[in-house]
Symmetry: none
Subunit: 205 residues, 4 copies
Amino acid sequence: MSPRSSKQFDDIRKQKKKLIMETALELFAEQGFHATSVSQIAQKAGISKGLTYNYFESKDDILHEIIEEGFKSIYSNFDINHDGVLTDDEYIYFIRQSFRIISENRNFWKLYFTIMIQHNVANLFEGEYIEKTQPILTTLLDFIKAKGSSDPEADILAIGSMLKGAYLMVVTSSDFFPADKLENAIIDASFKIMQSHNKSKIKQS
Amino acid sequence: MSPRSSKQFDDIRKQKKKLIMETALELFAEQGFHATSVSQIAQKAGISKGLTYNYFESKDDILHEIIEEGFKSIYSNFDINHDGVLTDDEYIYFIRQSFRIISENRNFWKLYFTIMIQHNVANLFEGEYIEKTQPILTTLLDFIKAKGSSDPEADILAIGSMLKGAYLMVVTSSDFFPADKLENAIIDASFKIMQSHNKSKIKQS
Amino acid sequence: MSPRSSKQFDDIRKQKKKLIMETALELFAEQGFHATSVSQIAQKAGISKGLTYNYFESKDDILHEIIEEGFKSIYSNFDINHDGVLTDDEYIYFIRQSFRIISENRNFWKLYFTIMIQHNVANLFEGEYIEKTQPILTTLLDFIKAKGSSDPEADILAIGSMLKGAYLMVVTSSDFFPADKLENAIIDASFKIMQSHNKSKIKQS
Amino acid sequence: MSPRSSKQFDDIRKQKKKLIMETALELFAEQGFHATSVSQIAQKAGISKGLTYNYFESKDDILHEIIEEGFKSIYSNFDINHDGVLTDDEYIYFIRQSFRIISENRNFWKLYFTIMIQHNVANLFEGEYIEKTQPILTTLLDFIKAKGSSDPEADILAIGSMLKGAYLMVVTSSDFFPADKLENAIIDASFKIMQSHNKSKIKQS
DNA sequence: GATGAATGAGCGTTCATTCAT
DNA sequence: TATGAATGAACGCTCATTCAT
């Protein structure tokens, strides 16, 4: 067989694999992993049940590859090789971009949140997770400090929570959800949190 | 010998039902509803599989009763019959209390978040959900307005996101998570959001 | 305990047993034996599941006692101690009476036919069955002979089939079934069969 | 290797389906529908329990397909497109044929009678049943009238009962049953019933 | 005599996975 | 590469039966 046709076969394999993963992701996100059967995936993808096992070792394996692939593509979308401190516009761009990524991959993120709640995601991807996440957190912390925060650790907790909650809203939201309003509110609020020098209202409980 | 009195039977029933629900909640929270089998529940509860069906009509029924019971106990913990506007201390108390409720029922809230992600929870409990939630949101909105917010709708989105995200952190956190620090950070941040009169940093994208 | 109260207890036992058997018969006839649960019987009879086993050894036992009791009461309704040959009126009375017995106990006969189809009933009641049935058949055969039948064995087959079929119709019939018309048709036809001296129309196939 | 052709798959499916239906019919007839388990069917057919559900949606579905198939083959065996009135020989042929069909499919008819007793079979197959049965009854009624019956409605009741009873005997009979003798007796008797102009012996009760 | 909680075997059914073709 | 028939373990659930009270 010529190398050319070998390459063609390879392309077919890649396409089929992608097709199966995309179909599975849709169903996993809609119904959950355990409530989705391999038959369903195969049927929706228009292939035979048996063929699935030509591309994946098991149903679990499909899930793992989806998650792995998802993470890879997410982090490749963030350009975190940032030397200095973010400008305000860069920060805003980062937030906006993260919203865009999530709303464009709502299925993946539904799945991600579901898994995250059940298992500690950091454990799932061990070193890799921290390795990828750390630079983002560091950059964010530097930015908060630069804005004059009186308690950067607290602020990053608050802002991180706010982002997580907002992402969750986007993921679970219906089509009529005012995504823009939320996005702007989160951006504004994060500046308020970083910049404000108010004394804390609270006494330790 | 005479048969057990009806009170005795009633006591047994209540106790067993509680045992089954608690056991099921643990497993549902850990593994998810679909990944948990009735056999597992029965085994962990130390009873026979068949007995489960003496107390619940179906596996679905167990879930429904857990959620119903959970909602009942949550809302009974919030005293929302509030006429005027919250004081700062009342607001702080409300937030602290909500954190306490969630961290004391982490299993229930794990389950709740998981279900919420798959099916819009508002749909699940339709009328009741909105009926119970609305007064809380109204009270919160009034408080935000009273604090002089320049855009209460945006602020409630931001604060709501922040709470949701923080709750999610508490639910998924390990035992070593600095819950107090998070709690304080969220309270401080929410005041910053409401009080700050800064002009918006953002231009519409 | 006085003999009197002992007798009272005995009466209670008999009544309860009868109640259970009647309730079970209704359900067995409607739904079939296997599709009827002991719980159903107990519930419909207004007693506890456990009590059933105070009166019957098993679910099978209930069925057996119903059938035994049914047979006893059927044969006790036929006065077959008949020396000579039946008169026409006695024959007609016998047929009419058999229809009455069946339509008054449709539930029992439904059950009887169902069991008969699955198992050879003669086997179920071995000696007893033949012992009870034989005199009836002998009396009938004598009557047919006396009416001048040219082939009594054939005629008893035909008349026997006709009765069996008619009984089956009564048992499965709705409330609007013209039972009288059927009864009269069967009586008339049976006389035609016995009396007619026609040559056979048929050649052996 | 290339996969089986779709004709090969089709052949396998048809053969297996037939095997399952035949095995199930045997067991349903012997033990009744409810007393027969899917495991039993599979074991007797020499396949796995799960495979059954590759061919039938449910246990109920097996029953339905058996009955449907049975009815189809029965009615296709009667040539009822009969314009004029039957000759005597045609009538005899019709009766003999019906006996043959039933004794060749005793299992199906056992099942049929059992179901008929519990649920009015006309209800089960509603329209179709009446549509198929009506022409047979009409042809029979015309024949009875042509033979000079003084009360055709009564005679068809009597003959119908006789046939039903005789069929039931054939179905429940052991291998030693004198089927020929019964068949001839029924044919003779039916002519006697139709032709006889005797006055009725009976007075209304 | 009477209750119903409790058991355990078995039911109908589903499904991840294998394999001959 | 691709098919779908086939398997077997496990699922949710039912029910005849037992037993402490």
